[in-house]
């Protein structure tokens, strides 16, 4: 008998992590959401509509691509890329927004709000809101609004209102605070689409469930292509939604090694990073208990990463649990290493990856050579790099 992994518990706990840590006004809304989610999860009509959207609107299944040239160059394991960058809107984020928006519609909510860092989740939310005819408001840190102008424009074209957040560090965590404030004020008609596996229960479980399509497809595709399970999985972890989406269907497969890659920014040793699992401590933020970057007074520390999508001081509570039980190895990759990953894939495979995904690629460059030719690694290529052209050019002193 093997113990099947079955988390979270009824109240949203992954061991000591997760839970519901919110102000009283949000409690009834969270209860309502949880009930609706549990109900529709078992509703064949809802699931059929979701599957249909994933196929015809998102473009799933996404390919599992054997990066032969890159694998050969590294001289070790065979690397397969799960191509979430080929989804509609260019990243894995849309898997979740399609699901949550369908849920919002079924619940009779007419207004959608979201937070966004790099803008990928904001774009994915504005996209589904446009399609379903729902009002959409996206909160984005004022700093991020400046460095991700292109995505701001995309959201506006899609009919969303983008509100720059001027409080705190004016980045993703502050956008989340502001979205929570909006939700508490407009609780009756508003559905909050959280973009990652964080927040109060049921969000970490719900977003995971919408994202596990990544791992379920990858598992089947890997069997078809190689006739066996992969030997290792690699994905980047900010909040950790693409990672949990890939990892979750493999958790009970003990032969599969799993690596979550955090952003080390200037280097974990400098303190200027976004790696709460590698260098943080447990605490409570944004509705759940999890590893955080906090100072001795409990204040949240500002994060640093070249990739706006990994620039978050917390992480999904399930990752905290998977770290503590030792099922997933959490490692980190700094800005410079991530850039090496970015260039390698671009030059050798003709695929321009997102800077977030580049962290997973960079770790794969360290891992693959330590494994033999007959071994297989699946890497989550969570998004495409078009949005990062400005950051890259600026970094390399090129004017576009």
């Amino acid at each position: 008998m093997t113990d099947m992994y079955n988390m979270p518990d009824e109240r949203g706990h992954f061991g000591p992590y997760g839970g519901v840590f919110v102000a009283e006004t949000l409690m009834p809304a969270i209860t309502e959401l949880n009930e609706a989610y549990q109900r529709y999860l078992k509703d064949p009509g809802f699931m059929a509509e979701l599957d249909d959207d994933l196929k015809h609107y998102v473009g799933r299944p996404s390919p599992l691509y054997h990066a032969q040239r890159w694998s050969k160059g590294l001289g070790g394991a065979q690397i397969y890329l799960k191509r979430e960058d080929l989804n509609h809107t260019g990243a894995h984020k849309v898997n979740n927004t399609v699901g949550q928006a369908l849920l919002a519609k079924r619940m009779g909510k007419t207004r959608i709000i979201a937070e966004t860092g790099a803008g990928q989740h904001g774009v994915a939310t504005a996209t589904v809101a446009a399609r379903l005819g729902l009002e959409c408001v996206v909160y984005m840190g004022a700093v991020d609004v400046k460095r991700q102008k292109l995505n701001v424009y995309r959201m506006k074209l899609l009919g969303a209102t983008v509100i720059p957040v001027e409080s705190g560090s004016r980045t993703l965590k502050d956008a989340l605070n502001e979205a929570m404030r909006d939700w508490v004020t407009n609780i009756d008609d508003t559905f909050y689409i959280i973009g990652t596996v964080a927040g109060p229960h049921p969000y970490p479980a719900m977003v995971r469930d919408f994202q596990t399509i990544i791992g379920r497809e990858a598992k089947q595709q890997c069997q078809e292509l190689t006739g066996k399970l992969p030997d290792a999985l690699v994905a980047c972890v900010g909040g950790g939604s693409n990672a949990i989406g890939l990892f979750h269907p493999f958790i009970d497969d003990s032969s599969v090694k799993i690596y979550g890659v955090e952003a080390a920014g200037d280097g974990v040793e400098t303190g200027r990073h976004s790696a709460p699992l590698c260098a943080g401590r447990p605490g409570v933020l944004h509705g759940n208990r999890t590893y955080l970057m906090a100072n001795d007074d409990g204040g949240i520390i500002e994060t640093h990463s070249i990739s706006a999508g990994l620039d978050y001081p917390g992480v999904g509570p399930e990752h905290s649990w998977l770290k503590d039980i030792g099922r997933v190895d959490y490692v980190n990759i700094n800005d410079n290493e991530a850039l090496e990953g970015f260039h390698a894939l671009t030059k050798l495979e003709g695929i321009i990856p997102a800077l977030e995904s580049s962290h997973a690629l960079a770790y794969t460059m360290k891992l693959a050579p330590t494994m033999s030719h007959d071994k297989t690694i699946i890497v989550s290529l969570s998004g495409r790099g078009d949005k990062d052209m400005h950051t890259m050019a600026e970094r390399e002193g090129i004017q576009i």
């Binding site: 404030r181 401590r281 409570v284």
Partner: protein, 267 residues
């Protein structure tokens, strides 16, 4: 008996309602806080809520957010806040002090270490905005064992069974958040407040404080006719914000507002 219980019983006997000002510890600077607390008591405050600054105050509107940011510039963390309460107690043994803030500073300090330090500082109540009763068991037990009241929030959308659940874990008083939104927001619909308070009364015997959206003496008076306590926060902090370069003026204006509320509530 806890200071809060004593205070609310004495008020009930004399037919008065509690005036409960809120100020953020360390705003606009750490030297301001303790003298201001004493001045609030002299002007008619019965209980004081002291805000513990936090980097990510999700339930607060812009006014209290900025107060937190100003205090954090002076490194006003939990230990410093508790030191201010200790200082206050040297001259005031009677006025209950309630710490109001978010869970993470308590988590990082550790529940037991926090409860012990709060007890030594003679804190009377702890209101943690993002700690609903479902997650509060351990923390509540540690506080109650030290005669510190855990204060919980009630919202306009809290159903009766939830009010009873909160009544069962909370003590001292219950804090009714009178509108859906963040601190300092909008206008109160008195009929709504009245209806909801009647429902809350049916489900608890604890005193009820009402806060969020009380800005002037007139509103304080109206609310005091319905509730056991009136909590005022953003209106005071606005005075700080409007006169950052003139601390004496801030103090005078806060005292004047407190007195006018006291007078209106007692008349």
């Amino acid at each position: 008996m806890s200071r809060l219980k004593t205070r609310f019983e004495a008020l009930a006997e004399s037919g008065r309602k509690a005036l409960i000002p809120f100020i953020t510890a360390g705003d606009p600077n750490p030297d301001f806080t303790v003298p201001m607390l004493h001045a609030l008591v002299a002007a008619g405050a019965d209980v004081i809520e002291v805000g513990v600054p936090f980097s990510d105050p999700m339930a607060d509107g812009p006014v209290i957010q900025r107060a937190s940011e100003r205090a954090l510039e002076h490194n006003m963390g939990m230990s410093s806040v508790l030191a201010l309460v200790t200082e206050f107690r040297k001259k005031d043994q009677l006025t209950p002090i309630v710490l109001m803030g978010y869970l993470n500073p308590i988590e990082i300090m550790g529940y037991e270490a926090f409860a012990n330090t709060a007890q030594r500082a003679e804190v009377d109540g702890v209101l943690t905005v993002d700690l609903p009763p479902e997650e509060a068991e351990e923390c509540v037990a540690l506080l109650k064992a030290r005669n510190i009241d855990p204060i919980f929030l009630l919202a306009p959308n809290s159903p009766p069974e939830r009010i009873r659940k909160i009544d069962a874990v909370g003590s001292g008083y219950l804090y009714y958040v009178s509108l859906k939104g963040v601190t300092g927001a909008g206008h109160l619909d008195m009929e709504d407040v009245k209806r909801k308070l009647a429902e809350i009364r049916e489900n608890t015997d604890l005193p009820i404080g009402v806060g969020f959206g009380i800005k002037d003496a007139e509103t304080a008076k109206t609310i005091s006719a319905l509730a056991d306590g009136v909590v005022v926060g953003s209106a005071f902090i606005k005075k700080i914000e409007e006169n950052l370069d003139n601390v004496e003026k801030v103090k005078a204006e806060i005292i004047a507002l407190t007195k006018s509320m006291r007078q209106a509530m007692d008349s």
